[in-house]
Amino acid sequence: MKLQGLAARPDGGLSFCLADMEVVCRPSGALWLVDQRALVVADLHFEKGSSYARRGQLLPPYDTRETLDRLEAEIDRLAPRTVVLLGDSFHDAAAEDRLANDDRARLLALAGGRSLVWVQGNHDVTGPTSLLGDVVAYHVVGSLSFVHEPARAPLRWEVAGHLHPCARVRALGSSVRRRCFATDGERIILPAFGSLTGGLNLRDPAFAPLMRQPPLALVLGVDRVHPVGWASLRGD
């Protein structure tokens, strides 16, 4: 399949045209709406580490700051007017209360001079209650709608998260597994941005009903995004 206006950018991102808007898939896993100056990130899963720790698996408590480091770096680079957090920003309903003080301060500072939009997810149904920003079920920019969970049928002009797409790419007699964007040219599913979040292989049956045609994987490399066709993808 072909994406309209697909082009590699010097900063490592891949840009193409979605619903008449120029969008850029960033190597960080964020989506950048160029003219609207909107930064979109999905599935941050803040406090996933402490969520497991509560139940006796002591994963490192550094995931929230790690995710914040990367998010702040994107914001510094791009100076967005709007930041859309596409749901499952927190790993569980009590996660917000477990935030370390300095992490909470950083989250509050994010809203300074720009609007913060918290889309509700299935892990954080209520959205944050003590932080700045709007909590919404969905968000709209032009003809693009932004939701956490993709509708279960091919749909035009939707940006979603929830599934944590990952691609296993084969070439040169070997393979690698990386996070990726998945798109059929009409909708796009973002990779999870959170530092401790795993992924679901794009070949998983869960993706098939969502796509009008076999999707293109825009795979996150070290400092660039690689477009990879369906034929080069493998299951796990």
Binding site: K2, K48, S50, Y52, A53, R54, G56, Q57, L58, L59, P60, P61, Y62, D63, R65, E66, A100, L163, H164, V169, R170, A171, L172, G173, S174, S175, V176, R178, S195, L196, T197, G198, G199, L200, D204, A206, V219, G221, V222, H226, P227, V228, G229, A231, S232, G235, D236
Partner: protein, 816 residues
Amino acid sequence: MDGAGASPLLPTRFADWFDQRGWRPRDHQLAMVEKGRAGRNVLLIAPTGGGKTLAGFLPSLIELTQRPTPNSPPGVHTLYISPLKALAVDVERNLMTPIAQMGLKINAESRTGDTGLARRQRQRVKPPDILLTTPEQLALFCAWEGARRYFEDLRCIIIDEVHAIWPSKRGDLLALDIARLSTFAPHCRRVGLSATVDDPDLIRRWLGGAGEVDLVRGAPGAQPVVDVLLSEDRVPWAGHTARHAMPEVYEAIRGARTALVFVNTRFQAEFAFQELWRLNEDNLPIALHHGSLAAEQRRKVEAAMTRGDLRAVVCTSTLDLGIDWGDVDLVIQLASPKGAARMVQRIGRANHRLDEPSHALFVPANRFEMLECQAAREAIAENALDSEPERIGALDVLAQHIMGCACSEPFDLMVLFEEVRRAGPYGGLAWEDFEGVVDFVATGGYALRAYDRYARIVKGLDGLWRVRTAEMALRHRLNIGAIVSPAMLSVRVANGRRATPGRKIGEVEEGYLEVLEPGDTFVFAGRIWRLAGLTGVDVLVTPAPGEDAKMPSWGGSKFALSTFLARRVRAMMSDAHHWQVLPRDVREWLEIQRDRSAIPAEDDMLLETFPRGQRHFLVCYPFEGRLAHTTLAMLLTRRLERLGVGPLGFVCNDYALAVWAIKPMQGVDFAELFDRDMLGDDLESWLAESMMMKGSFKACALISGLIERRSRNDRKSGRQVTFSTDLIYDVLRRHQPDHLLLRCAREDAARGLIDVARLSLMLARIEGRILHVPLEHLSPFSVSVILEIGRQKSPGGAGEMILVEAADQLIAEATA
């Protein structure tokens, strides 16, 4: 020697039993009885077939018959630990014979992961006199409440095949549990049973910890007869399959009663099995046995072997240890032996009768292996074996043990520290490290004190540490053990047109079939299959008899050539007088190498440079084994990159490594290139990113209990995978690079996967001794490694290249 009846050491009933069977107790058996009476720890070293197991149990059997009738039901008297489940069950059976024949009132029972629930429960309520089990079951026992009471009557711990357990994480765990048992039962003595080893003192120190261990040696068996198959004029230049020698191997099998055919990899096992059946005009019953086959199929082969129904079994290290098969009279080693000690043990699998020599046939697969086989043969004849380094206990294992102790009963930190230091591998444990591990067990060992309220173990008002909730204890017990196997896929026959998963034929490691596409055929479990597809954890296949099959996984041996054997190979190679033991074609190959390039002196390293095709090659011959070579090649490539010669790739085998580049390399300063400082920053920066570190981190995370292998409700939603250890590794490395588990992973990788110690010794050895020969063409020696190119997977760190390549394919697709 007098008849057994005369021995004052044996009670009449035992002496009579020996007499009735027409046996005489062997000296080492009597020595063991004497040591038992004196309450001494003891290590018995005896060749297979020497009545070793009976020697281990004899003192306990005698003591049990002389025990006064106790007032209350006694606890376990003797605990027997075997590295294999099957061996524990087999020994139970063998032990029942003398017990029944002498009419002893002794109750001996095995307990393994396969033991039924009813029997397990009964064993807890009413302990047998002799309990036979595995290290993992023992660790589980030690993590139960009431472990102290259960084992307080223990008098003796017997560790069978101790040579195979001690230098491993399983050995660390076992040593810790033995130290714990000694706390419960201070009068308990320790008995190790071992095959012949180079340095018994290492095992004695491991076994005894702080205590002394006496040594008893069985009479050596007859010297084994080892032949090397010379295959005059047909020894290949390269390769690992020994295809050229299969007719001779088949003839050897025909001439033997029963043969074990050992190979080094599962691929070689499948290949040899196919080739032998191609030649099998007599329809000899030849079977296959390796770790990927379904357990049921392996058990069938073992049972057929026990019945004496088979003429040969092609097998991997899965049969290195285990049940005695008296009928085996020939051991064939296909492809290189890699180490002399392992070979002695494999050869010991033939003829379990001490007075008759074991017969072995070495079959080299290429010319370097011919040198290696001859060197191994000579080493065995001289009784010179390779040895292991001293074992230092792993801290991830200690973490598991400490959690286990807390699950069993509250502990005092100082008391536990002293107990742990009484375990052999932990004798040198520092208090700071111990405290660090306890902190890790409690709250994860993070500098950011975020988890104090979620601690898994807590210190009570009484000053004792205990597990915080019963649920945590339950979960810990589900995850006990120090064996971490890679993620496995089940190979299943696809049923019907919808290809649903059917009968399971075995398991393969993730990635094993990576080189195959659906529709490709391959050999597995001795038959040819077509890959139908992959679904989740299943590999679906359909039978494809008669097809020409691909062979998955071309990797070489998982065993590295031992340092000891490598030195002997180098010595043999450098001494032209020694070449006469070699067949003519191999001698000529050495002579051409000498004339065209050079034969290095024993401690020199030969380095050749030559152009070939559009590329420039550097080939060197350190003879340090594939692991050390791979690490060296990674580091050399980084340095050559900095020197601007544009290295493009590398390939390694056990003897040599080759690097190829865009520009010629004869002008490089090789002394500087191979300088020892490469083991500093270069090593660290490469290692941090390497897949190997991530692999060993995963193992450490599982063993230490950071990640659970099994949870009580093992439901996979199929949706978001919970988390991967690679992500945890990356986060930790950025935020707490000195974390305990990163340290563990680094030590494991350096010790096992990349062989840093060996590389370091090698770099020291060749300082000022690099013999550089610039050539116009490739040399005879270099052929073996050059032919590996294309057979090996692209080296690690090629992730980005793969993505670029796949993206280029897309561009080609789009522009076609």
